[in-house]
């Protein structure tokens, strides 16, 4: 063993000093370097984990929000569709009612116009007939006055007597 150590060129003193140095360095590093670094790393890891958790929570909240928004949007669209359908139905009913009212009004106006036209036509006819009658009567009167002789007068009187015979009760 001692030969092997000798052949390998190991210096016990140096080896022990190195070991002591190693443990000393290990102790110092552990106390002043690794500890804080590991603590910092743990803290950092915790922070990151918390951040990730928060991020996931936010992500979930966003997802929920989006889902809720999508649901609300879908409901709003459905409601809008229903309202549009209702409005269309109402519009059809209003349109039909308006058409019916317009038709009734038109019928009334046409009837009124026809009545007025008939009345005006009758009045015009009456007026024309009265004018024509006046002209005819005037012309006849003029002719009778000019052509009235004793003979015509006698014949008229004879006709009057004939009427008496016809109409006497």
């Amino acid at each position: 063993m001692a030969e092997l150590v000798e052949h390998l060129g190991i210096n016990w003193k140096l080896l022990i000093a190195s070991i002591v140095n190693f443990f000393l360095l290990f102790f110092i590093l552990r106390k002043y370097a690794y500890g804080p670094i590991l603590g910092m790393l743990e803290k950092r890891e915790k922070t990151i984990a918390q951040s990730v958790k928060q991020s996931q929570a936010i992500e979930q909240a966003v997802k929920d929000l989006e889902e809720r928004k999508a649901n609300e949007l879908r409901e709003a669209r459905a409601e809008a569709s229903r309202l549009l359908e209702k409005a269309a139905r109402n519009a059809d009913a209003i349109k039909a009612e308006a058409v019916q009212a317009a038709s009734a009004e038109a019928t009334k106006l046409i009837a009124k116009a026809k009545t007025e036209l008939a009345s005006e036509r009758a009045a015009l006819k009456q007026s024309v007939m009265a004018e024509v009658a006046d002209l005819v009567v005037r012309a006849t009167e003029k002719v009778l006055k000019e052509k009235m002789t004793g003979d015509v007068d006698r014949r008229l009187a004879e006709q009057a007597v004939a009427q008496v015979e016809k109409r006497r009760p």
């Binding site: 009456q126 007939m129 009265a130 024509v132 009658a133 006046d134 005819v136 009567v137 006849t140 009167e141 009778l144 006055k145 009235m148 004793g150 015509v152 007068d153 006698r154 008229l156 009187a157 004879e158 006709q159 009057a160 007597v161 009427q163 008496v164 015979e165 109409r167 006497r168 009760p169």
Partner: protein, 130 residues
């Protein structure tokens, strides 16, 4: 007090006068007027006299005809009218040149207007309404 119609009074008056000698008729008429006053029908006297005259004319088979014409009616026409009516015609004639021609006859309640203005009016009515 019983009230009578003008026609009843008229008929009674004529009948009474017919049965009364001419000298006593004034007394009968006075009595008749007193009766009217008593019955408070004196105001009906014109109608009673008209009814009496009508009665007298009926008895004489005579009819009173009121005629309006532009010219006097001929005797032939009056005779023809009497023939148509079957009675003697007592004519009351009114001449109105404004009528131009034709005649208007009123026989009791019945009237016929065959004058030129009436015929023209008739023509106007026919033209207007036909």
């Amino acid at each position: 007090m019983k009230k009578f119609s003008a026609r009843q009074y008229g008929i009674a008056l004529v009948s009474l006068l017919e049965q009364t000698p001419e000298k006593q008729r004034s007394a009968v008429i006075r009595g008749f007027l007193q009766l009217l006053r008593r019955n408070r029908q004196f105001r009906a006297l014109p109608a009673i006299l008209a009814a009496a005259e009508q009665r007298r004319l009926e008895q004489a088979n005579t009819v009173r005809v009121k005629a309006r014409a532009a010219r006097p009616l001929s005797a032939q026409l009056i005779q023809q009218l009497g023939k148509v009516l079957g009675q003697t015609v007592l004519l009351e004639e009114a001449i109105d040149p404004a009528l131009h021609g034709g005649v208007s006859l009123t026989i009791g309640e019945y009237a016929i207007d065959y004058t030129v203005p009436a015929l023209l009016n008739q023509l106007r009515t026919q033209l207007t309404h036909d």
